[in-house]
Structure formats: structure tokens, C-alpha cells
């Protein structure tokens, strides 16, 4: 009797375990229903913006949207930039992207080619949306895939105390002036250098922000008819200029593995006199070094250049997943964030410039430097030729590796540009 009972208990135990196993197996296969019983729809919105804004402020903007659209709920999936990117790359591969996605212009080409993000031109048409109010749209073959919500420009930051100490009375505006100022700052001694150049290959955006910015500032281009054009005199003059600064010893040590945050840290602690950096870092620099006297200016151009200067920028872009079952609702959220009022509010909070041309950011509570930067932005034009290119991070990395060979004396400028040209040509067809 006892034996039979024990055997029955074993059998029940085993069946329970098997049921758990079946339940586990079922977990992955289910298709979550995002339409509630009351007919309301829940949208997932993955972005890296919320952690970069003052705590709770992005939730407030989203709550405003939910109040205006009671049948749409938004679930924010917030994370740092790098992990959001990884999440989206894997989501795009498995066709499980969240309904609305925060995008960087550098990812658009790859996601669009995978069919992971939706054609917004079509959604704008369906919603009768007036796109003339948008400052820019990121397009591929005539179709819009990303709308920049907030733009961040990358001006030149100058430590005025170091400049004065070095005997330079004017913020450099040309390459010669910059080179001269960098040499004089370096000559003040004490481990201080003129400029910081982050060339770390893990996140090679130094090529975009700190190298190609010199090209765009002088009206140059690294592309011709959408194809790589790296062997032009304009690009060559930029690489030769960077090399001349390196040869003169005015670039902070360790640039081959320096990251963007190291650059900001060195500027904040007065170890370098000048850097090209995101305007969004003004508050960070001021928080960490309240007594640091610094100014912002356009990136220096070639001597004698009188044209409009391109100013590098990065965007918080937005797109809609192609796999979303609620594209119309998702576009309502896009529309809301691009609305003049919400867009101005978001740009003010983010210390960036609005993606809606009619939005007026409120500079009254911001640092006066933002107003100054807005002038620089309006006088020049936003320039970032990596936006919309395929595998843009890889393009930056291959250029980075060749530039590193130049700076370490292992390759000539011509060879570096020619190899980069070949490498880029195999990617951009």
C-alpha cells in the first residue's frame, strides 16, 4: 500500500514537473495581445532619451499624449544609447521591434534595408500630415524612414582661461588660428594640451564629430553623388591638418584609445584647451567644473573660407516598426512629439534644437550659451554625411584605423585615404 502511495506521489511529482516544463515552453511562443478589453491600444516605445532628460520629464510629456489620446497607452522602454542600439539591432533581426523606436541617423539605412522600419511617407499620407513643418527627414530612395525630433550640434568648446594664459586673445576661427592657439596652450606646460581627439575604435564616432567636422565646416564633402570621395584635396587637407597637429604634439596623449567621455573629462579638468563636442554637454561641464570659464564657437574653417559652415549634429530621431500592428496609433505619437508645442518642450528639456521648424525652444531658463549656439546653428547648416549611410559605424571604424596608422607614422596620408576609399566603396554601392 505504502509502496503504491509512494509511486503515485512520484508520478504526480513528475507530472507537475512536466506541466511546468510545458508552461515554460509556452512562454516563448505566445503572442501578447496589446489590445485591452476596453479597446485601448498599448504602444511600446524604445528610446535612450528618458535617461538623458531630467528625471520624470519625458514621462510627463508622454502622459500629456495619453491624456489627449485616451485609447492609446505608451509603455516606455528606456535604456542607455548603446544598449538601446543593441536591443534594436536584435529586434530588427527578429522582426520584434517595439512599435515606436528612437533612431540615430546612422542606423536608418541598415534598418530600412532589413525592412524593419516603416515608410513614414506613407503613414504621413494616411494621416494627412503636413510635413512642411519638419526641419528635416531622413530618406532612402525618396521614402522617409526617420524624422529628427531634437538635433544636437557639435560646436568648438574653448577654455578661455587657458586661452588667456597662452596669450591668445581671440577664439580661433580658421585652421591657422586654431593650430596657433593649440601650440600656445600646449606651450604653457604642466601636461596641458591644445586639443583632444578621441579615436577609440569601440565607438568610433570621433571620426564623425572630431575629424570630419573640419571638412564640413569648410563646406567640404566626403561623398560625391552618394559615393565615397575620400581622395579629394578637401579630405586630404583635413587629414594632413590633423596629422600636423599630432606632429606638433598639441593633441592630448592617448588619443588612439580615447573615448568621448575622456575628451569631456579632460576639457572639464583643464587638461585640454579646446574640443569639439555636443552642446548637450554644457550642463555636464558646468556641473563638474562650476568655475571653468569657457566659450563656444563654430568649428574653424580653412583660411579664407567665406561660405556657409556646416556644423556637425546628431539627432534623436523617431521611426515606426514595420512589424507594428498599430502603425496609425504609432504615427499619432510621432505626430504629437513633432507638434510645435511638445517638440519645443522636449528640445528645451534636452538642450537641443527642435525638429519642427515652427517650434520655439524656451531659452529663458537655459544657459545663455544655448542662445549663442542657436545663432551658430542658424548661421550655418547642419552637416552630418554619415546619416543615412549603410554600416556607418563600420565606415567610421575603417577610416579611424587608417587615420591611426597615419598618426603613428605607419602609413602615408595618400595611402590611408586610398585604402579608406576602397573600404568604403565596398560598402556604399
Amino acid at each position: 500500500m505504502a509502496i503504491r502511495k509512494a509511486s503515485r506521489t512520484r508520478l504526480i511529482g513528475a507530472l507537475t514537473a512536466a506541466t511546468v516544463a510545458l508552461a515554460l515552453g509556452a512562454c516563448g511562443g505566445g503572442d501578447s495581445d496589446d489590445v485591452a478589453a476596453d479597446g485601448s491600444v498599448t504602444l511600446e516605445f524604445a528610446q535612450w532619451w528618458a535617461p538623458e532628460l531630467p528625471a520624470g520629464s519625458f514621462d510627463k510629456i508622454i502622459n500629456e499624449f495619453q491624456t489627449a489620446n485616451p485609447n492609446i497607452k505608451v509603455k516606455l522602454l528606456s535604456g542607455p544609447y548603446a544598449s538601446t542600439k543593441q536591443q534594436l539591432v536584435t529586434g530588427a533581426a527578429s522582426k520584434t521591434l517595439p512599435d515606436v523606436v528612437g533612431l540615430d541617423g546612422a542606423w536608418v539605412n541598415d534598418f530600412a534595408k532589413q525592412g524593419a522600419i516603416a515608410d513614414l511617407t506613407e503613414l504621413m499620407g494616411d494621416a494627412n500630415y503636413d510635413s512642411s513643418q519638419l526641419a528635416s527627414q531622413i530618406q532612402l530612395e525618396g521614402k522617409t524612414y526617420m524624422i529628427p525630433v531634437v538635433n544636437f550640434v557639435y560646436p568648438l568648446f574653448v577654455n578661455q582661461d587657458l586661452l588667456t594664459k597662452a596669450g591668445v586673445d581671440k577664439v580661433p576661427s580658421t585652421r591657422t588660428e586654431f593650430s596657433d592657439a593649440a601650440k600656445k596652450i600646449t606651450a604653457t606646460g604642466g601636461n596641458v594640451k591644445g586639443w583632444a581627439l578621441p579615436l577609440d575604435t569601440a565607438v568610433p564616432n570621433g571620426i564623425q564629430n572630431d575629424v570630419m567636422s573640419w571638412l564640413w565646416a569648410s563646406g567640404g564633402s566626403m561623398l560625391a553623388d552618394g559615393k565615397p570621395a575620400l581622395t579629394t584635396p578637401q579630405v586630404k587637407s583635413v587629414v594632413e591638418y590633423v596629422k600636423s597637429l599630432n606632429d606638433a604634439g598639441v593633441i592630448a596623449e592617448g588619443s588612439l584609445t580615447m573615448k568621448e567621455q575622456d575628451k569631456v573629462e579632460k576639457f572639464t579638468t583643464g587638461q585640454v584647451g579646446m574640443m569639439i563636442d555636443s552642446l548637450a554637454h554644457i550642463n555636464l561641464v558646468k556641473e563638474n567644473a562650476p568655475n571653468l570659464k569657457f566659450a563656444i564657437a563654430p568649428v574653424p574653417a580653412e583660411d579664407g573660407f567665406t561660405g556657409k559652415r556646416g556644423i556637425p549634429y546628431a539627432s534623436w530621431g523617431i521611426g515606426v516598426a514595420n512589424s507594428s500592428k498599430h502603425k496609425a496609433e504609432a504615427f499619432k505619437l510621432v505626430q504629437f512629439l513633432m507638434d510645435a508645442k511638445a517638440n519645443a518642450e522636449l528640445a528645451t528639456l534636452a538642450n537641443g534644437f527642435p525638429g519642427n521648424k515652427t517650434a520655439k525652444p524656451d531659452f529663458s531658463k537655459s544657459d545663455p550659451m544655448f542662445e549663442e549656439a542657436f545663432k551658430i546653428y542658424q548661421e550655418g547648416f547642419p552637416a552630418n554625411e554619415f546619416v543615412g549611410l549603410p554600416k556607418s559605424e563600420d565606415l567610421m571604424r575603417s577610416f579611424d584605423e587608417n587615420l591611426q596608422l597615419v598618426l603613428t607614422g605607419k602609413q602615408s596620408v595618400d595611402d590611408a585615404l586610398s585604402k579608406s576609399q576602397d573600404s568604403w566603396s565596398s560598402v556604399i554601392e
Binding site: 509511486s7 512520484r10 508520478l11 511529482g13 513528475a14 507530472l15 514537473a17 512536466a18 511546468v20 516544463a21 510545458l22 515554460l24 515552453g25 516563448g28 543593441q86 539591432v89 533581426a93 541598415d110 534595408k113 532589413q114 525592412g115 601636461n191 579615436l199 577609440d200 575604435t201 569601440a202 565607438v203 592630448a252 596623449e253 592617448g254 588619443s255 588612439l256 584609445t257 580615447m258 575622456d262 587638461q271 554600416k391 559605424e393 563600420d394 571604424r397 584605423e401 591611426q404 596608422l405 603613428t408 605607419k410
Partner: protein, 311 residues
């Protein structure tokens, strides 16, 4: 007279089918218990590994809907890529130097902590100090060492103050030193695990063996070589093989410290594979690289399993 009563045997029942059913059920019971684990292993390990292997034989996987069979083309691409060869060489140096240093440092510190020459309090203090690197996460270790090794950082300052160097050394930015520096940081972060395991092994060696060696007139070196090492041999071999496997998978430390640079001087198989997948979006080639890493790791795992069986 006693009477012997023999109970009648129960009437024979047609039991054969029931017994078969019961024995089948009995045989299935263990699998029922194991089923949650089996499902988890299948979903989290078997399926992803099979998918990666199948990707490695195709082209245009993931990023395009119509992938095509490519045979061994991805493997040829990977194996003939000079960056892969460099990564293989760097990984070999990184894992072997790390393993040997982990072993020597771990054994040295374990023997010190096991020695009768130190008091209990001193041992406890050293135990805490020695184990500290193991308590930090890799992200913290990378940030701390990046700051320490900065050309204007603490290490250069100390060395310059002591007059050991004249100018600040560019530890991570110099292609000639970067690999050795990240290897050093990996050694620093990993030796405590060796130390703890070997300390446990040392404490398990019977005192009688040392007494017998003393009676035979053995000196401290002979005791170490003929008693300690043979007794620790199984632990040392297991730890060494496991360390080679774990270190070959080290990604976060390299990625956060140098990103594989400068000039690929710290490129490892892990960073090489990651860049292929998440920067170049070449998932098929990245899968081929991952399969090669899997095969190399399996060779190490084979030696580990064989050594465990022998024990």
C-alpha cells in the same frame, strides 16, 4: 504435532500488459522530473547553437529575408582575414599569460595564507585584501584602470615621482604596450579565484604527509615539489583549463578598455566577432567566427572533462 499451514498462492493474474505499462511509466518518471531543465537547455542552448551553426553556412542571414546556402565560404572568409589571425594570436597570448600568472599568483598567495608563520588576524586582513579585485564587476575594473593608466593618471604620476620614468607612458594608447596592459588588468582581476580554490586544496592536504617528508629529511622545496604539487595537481589542472576557457570568452574588459585597439593590438576573437555582427551586420560571417571559437573552446573543454573523469 504441529500443523503447517501453507497459504494458497494468489491466483495468477494476467499481469503482463500492466507490468509493461508500469515499467514504461516508471522509466518516464525521471524524464518528467527533468523536463523543466531539458526544456530550458533546449530553448536557451541547443536551439541558439543550432541556429548559429546554420547561419554560418548561409549568406545574407538576418538582414535579408532571402538568405542563400554558402557552404564553407564564410569560414574561408574568416580564416583568411588578417584581422582574425591577429585576434587569434592576441587571444592566445592573452589567455596563456593570464592563466600562468593567475596560477603563480594564486598559488603564492594561497601558500602564504596557509602558512603557519602568520597570525590569524594578519591572515584575515590579507585574505580580505587579496580577494578584493574579485569583488569588483568588470565595468568598474575597466573604468578604474582606465583612469589609473591615463597618460596624466596616478600610475604615471607615481612612476615619475619615484624617478622610474621621465615622461608619462601612454599605456593603453601605445600599440606596443596595450596588449600587455590589458593582460595585466585581467590577471589582477582574476587571480583571487585561483587563490581561494588552491587555498581550499592546500587545507585538504593531510599534515601526516609533511611529517613523513620531514622524517625522510626533505627540505621545504622538496616538500613543496613532492607533496604539495602532487596533491594539488587535480585542482591545478582543472583550474588551469577552466581559466583558459573563461579568459578566452573575456569581452567586456577588452571592449571597455581599448575596444580592440589601438591598431588591432588588443583585438580578441570575442571583439572581432562582435564587430562583425553589430558593426558590420555580417551575421553569417560572425556566426562562422563564433563557431570557430566554439570549436576551439570545445578542445579545451574536452581536456577538462577527460581530466575530471580520470579523477
Amino acid at each position: 504435532m504441529t500443523s503447517l499451514t501453507v497459504e494458497k498462492p494468489p491466483p495468477a493474474e494476467p499481469e503482463a500488459p500492466t507490468r509493461t505499462k508500469k515499467s514504461v511509466a516508471r522509466r518516464l518518471i525521471p524524464f518528467g522530473y527533468l523536463s523543466p531543465t531539458i526544456v530550458l537547455i533546449v530553448v536557451l542552448m541547443v536551439v541558439p547553437i543550432i541556429m548559429v551553426i546554420s547561419y554560418s553556412f548561409r549568406d545574407n542571414v538576418i538582414v535579408q529575408e532571402n538568405s542563400v546556402f554558402a557552404g564553407f565560404a564564410n569560414y574561408t572568409d574568416v580564416l583568411t582575414d588578417p584581422d582574425f589571425v591577429a585576434a587569434l594570436k592576441n587571444t592566445f597570448i592573452f589567455i596563456t599569460v593570464s592563466m600562468v600568472a593567475h596560477l603563480l599568483l594564486g598559488l603564492g598567495f594561497a601558500m602564504m595564507l596557509n602558512s603557519g608563520m602568520l597570525s590569524g588576524v594578519t591572515k584575515a586582513i590579507f585574505r580580505v585584501v587579496y580577494v578584493l579585485p574579485w569583488l569588483f564587476t568588470i565595468a568598474v575594473i575597466a573604468v578604474i584602470w582606465r583612469l589609473l593608466l591615463d597618460p596624466s593618471g596616478v600610475i604615471n604620476y607615481v612612476l615619475q615621482t619615484l624617478g622610474i620614468i621621465q615622461d608619462g607612458v601612454n599605456w593603453l594608447g601605445d600599440p606596443g604596450s596595450a596588449l600587455w596592459v590589458v593582460t595585466f588588468v585581467n590577471i589582477w582581476s582574476g587571480y583571487p579565484f585561483f587563490m581561494i580554490s588552491l587555498l581550499a586544496g592546500l587545507q585538504g592536504i593531510p599534515g601526516e604527509l609533511y611529517e613523513a617528508a620531514s622524517v625522510d629529511g626533505a627540505n621545504p622545496w622538496q616538500k613543496f615539489w613532492n607533496v604539495t604539487i602532487p596533491q594539488l595537481r587535480p585542482v591545478i589542472i582543472s583550474m588551469a583549463v577552466l581559466d583558459l576557457i573563461w579568459t578566452s570568452q573575456q569581452f567586456a574588459l577588452i571592449w571597455m578598455m581599448t575596444g580592440g585597439g589601438p591598431l588591432n593590438s588588443t583585438e580578441m576573437l570575442s571583439t572581432f566577432t562582435y564587430k562583425l555582427a553589430f558593426s558590420e551586420y555580417e551575421f553569417a560571417t560572425a556566426s562562422a567566427s563564433a563557431v570557430i571559437v566554439l570549436l576551439l573552446t570545445m578542445i579545451l573543454a574536452f581536456f577538462y572533462v577527460r581530466q575530471q573523469r580520470e579523477r
